[in-house]
């Protein structure tokens, strides 16, 4: 990841991120009402094993109800991703307005970053299988 001086496009992406984060929180009643109608995981139903996305709906619902620990137990990666999405959306425009640099996700990642990403993904999946989510 490279850090560079932000351009007009970076600011637009930051504002779009902020808009999406605010909308995602503002639509809380809609997510909570719709979650009850979503089907259960077909992969889990067929195999009895949790898929990497299992527990995401329950994690998001718990998060929207303010129960962070329960959300982390349902799906840690999805919970952290959702929290990062909202927090990043709020912070990104402020960060750029204060003169912060913009990250650039382009090019090949270092082996260390790739290893951390892969390990995090597999660890999350292992947790889901072990905890029987």
């Amino acid at each position: 990841m490279n850090w560079q001086s932000p351009g007009r496009e970076d600011r637009q992406v930051a504002w779009l991120w902020a808009l999406c984060a605010v909308l995602a929180v503002a639509f809380r009643p809609l997510w909570l009402a719709a979650a009850g109608y979503l089907p259960s995981c077909p992969w889990h139903a067929w195999t009895g094993w949790a898929c990497p996305g299992c527990g995401t709906t329950r994690a998001i619902v718990s998060l929207l109800q303010g129960r962070v620990t329960a959300a982390l137990a349902f799906n840690p990666l999805a919970t952290l991703g959702a929290m990062g999405f909202v927090a990043g959306g709020i912070l990104a425009p402020v960060w750029l307005a204060c003169g912060g640099s913009a990250p650039s996700l382009a090019g090949r990642p270092s082996p260390l970053i790739a290893a951390i990403a892969g390990t995090g993904f597999l660890a999350n999946w292992a947790w889901l299988v072990a905890s029987g989510v």
């Binding site: 992406v13 089907p39 650039s104």
Partner: protein, 236 residues
């Protein structure tokens, strides 16, 4: 009468640059709403060259506005089909679900004018959130595969124009499925063009998140339209 001094030959002016490929009609500086139609036609008839024409420097508002326009048009057509073909759709769903349909029957109602109007406002906003999250997941995967040769905004632009596929909802009942497959094709073509990467990396960047993380989410998203509509009716 004075004589003019001889003009000394200066450096030759640079030769005129050959004109570059024309951009998308929607991205022209003076483009109006009418230019959405030829732009959509370009992505329908020749997606590869349309993505090659796509500017990676034009204001990001342009592709985002195109995305919202396509989402809104698709939502309008979907609502129209839902209203006109309500009985047919219910009959098909009932035959597919069998006795399980009775569990949901109490929540299923023909949408009223208020629900349709509310749905038309909410749908583009919900899809905008989905666009940003999906673009982020795909860009992250493409980066891990070493195929992201440009920044996140290039991926975002590709995803915006891939929304053209949602115009497939003009085909009632099967339009959603056609649009889903068509969208995948457009995204793969667009990513390989915008990031100048191999098509297999672009395809993996689309399919890996679907297979590893989002299988349930995608199946859920297919059901989400109906679920959200039912939830809205219960909220009224």
């Amino acid at each position: 009468m004075s004589e003019q001094p001889p003009i000394e030959p200066g450096p030759l002016p640079p030769p005129p640059q050959p004109p570059g490929p024309p951009g998308l009609p929607w991205e022209e500086p003076s483009a109006g709403l009418g230019s959405i139609v030829p732009t959509a036609l370009a992505f329908v008839t020749r997606p590869s060259s349309a993505y090659a024409q796509m500017s990676l420097t034009v204001d990001l508002i342009r592709p985002l506005a195109y995305f919202v326009a396509c989402a809104l048009a698709a939502a309008c057509v979907s609502q129209l089909w839902g209203f006109l073909l309500y009985d047919t759709m219910i009959r098909i769903v009932r035959s597919l679900m069998g006795s399980q349909f009775e569990r949901f029957e109490q929540f299923v109602h023909r949408p009223g004018a208020l629900q349709i109007a509310f749905g038309l406002v909410i749908t583009p906003l919900v899809i905008l959130i989905a666009l940003f999250i999906w673009s982020g997941i795909v860009h992250l995967t493409l980066t891990l595969l070493g195929g992201a040769n440009r920044g996140f905004s290039a991926t975002l632009r590709v995803m915006c124009y891939a929304q053209t596929s949602q115009l497939a909802v003009v085909f009632p009942l099967v339009g959603g499925l056609i649009g889903f497959v068509w969208r995948i094709v457009l995204e793969i073509i667009g990513l390989s063009q915008a990031h100048k990467t191999e098509p297999w990396k672009a395809a993996l960047a689309i399919f890996l998140p679907m297979l590893l993380c989002c299988l349930c989410l995608i199946l859920g998203a297919v059901a989400f339209g109906a679920a959200a509509a039912q939830a809205l009716q219960n909220l009224k």
